[in-house]
């Protein structure tokens, strides 16, 4: 049985945990790693920040389909119909 995991594995485990695909035994290994590794602790919290930001992402942005493309849609539709 594994007793220790590396940072690379820990980052993998963090993703798996988020997908709820981490076994309870591996969770223990992850906790043990996080207890001693501040880099991976930072990774964990920053990852959460990004996810939090993403869920509100895009709501304040406006997108506009250029007028030219709108015209093209109408032309293509009405021509094809003739």
């Amino acid at each position: 049985m594994k007793v220790k995991i590396t940072c690379k594995q820990a980052v993998d485990y963090i993703s798996k945990k988020e997908e709820k695909k981490l076994s309870p035994m591996d969770q223990v290994l992850l906790w043990k790693h996080l207890a001693i590794c501040r880099f991976c602790r930072m990774f964990t919290s920053q990852n959460k920040t990004i996810i939090k930001a993403l869920s509100g992402f895009g709501h304040e942005q406006d997108y506009h389909l250029p007028e030219e493309n709108k015209r093209q849609i109408l032309e293509a539709a009405f021509q094809g119909n003739a």
Binding site: C40, I51, S55, F57, Y63
Partner: protein, 189 residues
């Protein structure tokens, strides 16, 4: 009659094309394919206008068509190739040393975002947007479906016709890459 149909269709394009376009681009598609897909969506709508039963709102009906077009796009586009490229280009040794510990220079450094500070959040979003542009189209799509739309991984795999191991590579690499890019560009006050 024909005039009515045309003016109604014009109204649809007026009312919903920006919305559909924004939806598509926000979900990671590049602007050129997105424009084609919007055109395709409206042309399909135009062709099936007579059979549209109005059981759903125009907006929802257009979204149903759009989503199936987006699915087609990813079925056709070389998703497999993109996954392979991502695997090749972003090896773990970009971030980890021979002992699988964080490498100097790319290891996590302290930064955070104060979500109650509107100005700070706005700046952070700006950087997040630029950083997500550096991801591959398919990667952003998976990422946004997961975190903006809140879809389950099984559904994402089904919609995009990718395997669960493809999904894993796409989302995991995107996460690691995005965090590294944010760290580089997000200067803490």
């Amino acid at each position: 009659m024909e005039m009515d149909k045309q003016s109604e269709f014009k109204q649809w394009v007026n009312d919903y094309s920006d919305l559909l376009y924004g939806y598509t681009v926000q979900r990671g598609m590049d602007t050129e394919p997105a424009k084609d897909i919007i055109q395709d969506t409206f042309l399909s709508a135009w062709r099936s206008m007579d059979t549209y039963k109005r059981e759903v709102s125009v907006k929802n009906w257009l979204f149903i068509i759009l989503k199936s077009k987006i699915t087609d796009h990813y079925r056709k586009s070389s998703t497999k190739l993109a996954v392979e490229t991502i695997e090749r280009e972003h090896q773990d040794h970009t971030y980890f040393d021979a002992a699988d510990h964080w490498k100097d220079g790319v290891c996590p450094e302290p930064w955070q975002v104060h979500f109650d500070n509107k100005i700070e959040v706005k700046e952070f979003y700006h950087i997040l947007k630029n950083c997500s542009k550096k991801l591959k189209e398919i990667q952003t799509t998976v990422f946004m479906m997961k975190y903006m739309d809140g879809l389950e991984s099984e559904d994402i795999c089904r919609v995009l016709s990718i395997s669960s191991s493809n999904y894993w590579v796409l989302i995991h690499r995107a996460k690691v890459q995005l965090r590294a890019c944010l760290q580089k560009n997000w200067v803490q006050k």
